[in-house]
């Protein structure tokens, strides 16, 4: 992990009257991170992003991006940030090309026709560049949103729920693009999402917030490796398998059984170890299926479970 902090947030709080949207939040995003910012709807994710992008003013707290205060170095910092805040909205009466030209010029980007067309090609919109954005589907607007966020080649990309409303293929394309930007282009990515699976697939570090308060923060691997998941093992000899388990330390992990399946509560590392153990004992394992999804972990955390 690179130790250079790109985003540093301390004690960030936002109150709307008596409602506390974000409460004393600390955040650390390092250069090269794909940082997952997780939380259920209404957790304060968008409010936090809006504060990071100076769209709303915090009630209290300190925010630094690239080591500098946002309020004092806004122009310098924002020239190095590309962002999508909630759903990407554009000037609907203008073409995709014109929208990118206008937003690119405001960001000081190269707005030559080649550059804009290259960016539209990257997000698969080059054939519709002349069409007015009002004729675009939600998915196309999302992709155009990515294009406007990337046009000026920013160092930090802030994406607020970038796959919302996309079909599975569209979600995969966006995820692949994020991975490409991170691994090939070295961008730092701040990804807000309420889908743990999405964050697990692409993020290196994450924080989970609920009701405006941070619940857990760390690398995705660290946070999930100790988390126990219910896993079903499909085996050929169920009775032998049960006996073998009962005679071993895995007895403690046993949960239930059915016709040809045994359910265990295991950590990620333990799944492979148990699989190896059963095979060594001559029991053929035909499938290992996680039953309790990672969403359960997410729900437990966000519903006030243990840290």
């Amino acid at each position: 992990m690179n130790s250079e902090q790109v985003i540093e947030v301390r004690g960030l709080t936002k109150k709307f009257g008596s409602l506390i949207a974000v409460n004393n939040l600390d955040l650390n995003v390092y250069r090269g991170d794909v940082f997952g910012f997780l939380g259920p709807n209404g957790a304060g994710k968008s409010t936090t992003i809006r504060m990071l992008l100076s769209l709303i003013k915090p009630t209290s707290g300190e925010m630094k991006i690239f080591g500098k205060s946002i309020t004092k170095n806004r122009k310098e910092i924002f020239s190095k940030i590309g962002a999508i805040v909630e759903k990407p909205d554009f000037y609907l009466y203008l073409s995709a090309y014109k929208n990118l030209e206008i937003l690119g010029k405001l960001s000081g980007a190269d707005t030559s026709k080649k550059k804009i067309m290259d960016m539209l090609a990257l997000v698969g919109l080059e054939k519709r560049y002349k069409s007015k954005v009002k004729t675009y589907s939600h998915g196309m607007k999302q992709r155009l949103g990515l294009a406007q966020a990337l046009l000026h080649d920013p160092e930090l990309i802030i994406l607020d729920e970038p796959t919302t409303g996309l079909d599975p293929q569209g979600m995969k394309e966006i995820r692949d693009l994020i991975i490409y930007l991170s691994r090939e282009k070295g961008k730092t990515i701040f990804l807000s999402s309420h889908i743990l699976h999405e964050v697990e697939l692409i993020a290196t570090r994450m924080i989970i917030i609920s009701k405006g308060t941070a619940q857990v923060e760390g690398t995705v691997e660290e946070l999930l490796k100790s988390e126990k998941v219910v896993v079903t093992f499909e085996v050929d000899k169920i009775e032998d398998a049960i006996r073998t388990v009962n005679e071993s330390k895995w007895k403690e992990n046993f949960k239930s059984t059915s016709k040809s399946e045994i359910n265990f509560e295991l950590t990620k590392n333990e799944i492979a170890m148990l699989n190896k153990y059963l095979i060594e004992k001559g029991i053929l394992v035909s499938a290992v299926v996680p039953v309790r999804s990672l969403e359960d972990y997410f729900l437990r955390i966000t519903e006030g479970g243990a840290k």
Binding site: R50, L53, S54, L55, I56, K57, R74, K75, E76, I77, F78, S79, I81, A83, V85, E86, K87, P88, D89, F90, Y91, L92, Y93, L94, K98, I102, L103, K105, L106, S107, G108, Q148
Partner: protein, 279 residues
């Protein structure tokens, strides 16, 4: 800053509503010219009745200058209702479309954004007035020819020589630009509060109508406050067609309107900089 203003103008002039004012003025100016072309001499004969026994009128009195002033007087009171269509949408339109989020996460300050909006609004007013000037003065001179300008001021008839007219029109239009800039500034001010352009358009029209009604009520109290209402100063453009021109009165009104513009711009900027963007 120039880029920002240019981008604002591009956005503005790619919207259909921006052309409503140009189309309305074009239609009305041409309609008035066509009607006057066929029936205008009767009108001027009617206005000159009673004077023909005392004076001998020579030359082309029903000329382009006379028509241009007639059109200016007829249309100038309606222009505020056309320009608020643009001004009311300048900030509220971004909120409606959700594009504030795109616009304000760029490396430009809010001060620059709101200043560019105001300047673009003032430029749109200027272009609308230039359009009116072209249609009313240039086209009228081409259609009706040149000549001295008859100007009726109450019971007085003033005749300006042909070489003493053009500067009066230019100054009148310049003053009208300041008047109309005040109106569009008010609509931008209202536009900074809301997320829909209808509100600021209606609010600006309401302010204009209320102030005009207050000015017209012949009650001491209203007549006392009348000099403080900006609407009372907006018609001073006509002072350039007086003889002698009352520059003191004109400059007083001009500074009054400019002060309004500066204060409105200042308040709007303050509100906009402090505003939380929740749209």
């Amino acid at each position: 800053m120039i880029t920002l203003i240019w981008l604002e103008l591009q956005k503005m002039f790619r919207k259909w509503r921006t052309y409503i004012g140009f189309i309305a003025i074009g239609f009305l100016a041409i309609l008035v010219q066509v009607v006057l072309y066929f029936a205008g001499t009767k009108m001027i004969d009617f206005q000159m009745r009673g004077m023909e026994q005392s004076f001998v009128m020579v030359g082309n009195l029903f000329n382009g200058y006379f028509i241009a002033r007639f059109i200016l007087m007829a249309l100038i009171i309606n222009i505020p209702f056309l320009i608020v269509l643009v001004g009311g949408d300048l900030l509220a339109g971004e909120a409606t479309a959700g594009t504030y989020r795109m616009l304000l996460t760029r490396p430009v300050s809010r001060l620059q954004v709101v200043t560019a909006k105001f300047i673009a609004g003032w430029i749109s007013v200027l272009l609308l007035l230039v359009w009116l000037l072209l249609l009313s003065l240039v086209v009228s001179l081409l259609l009706f020819g040149s000549g001295p300008l008859l100007s009726f001021q109450g019971m007085r008839l003033i005749i300006f020589a042909e070489n003493d007219i053009l500067w009066r029109f230019l100054c009148a239009y310049l003053f009208a630009f300041i008047s109309m800039s005040t109106v569009i500034s008010i609509s931008i001010f209202f536009s900074s509060f809301v997320q829909n352009a209808i509100g600021p358009i209606a609010a600006t029209m309401a302010v204009l109508i209320i102030f005009l009604i207050l000015s017209a009520i012949p009650v001491d109290f209203f007549q006392t406050i009348k000099p403080y209402l900006f609407t009372n100063h907006m018609s001073q453009w006509d002072g350039f067609f007086g003889d002698p021109v009352d520059y003191k009165e004109i400059f007083h009104s001009m500074w009054y309107l400019l002060a309004h513009i500066i204060v409105i711009y200042g308040i709007t900027t303050y509100i906009f900089i402090k505003k939380d963007i929740l749209s």
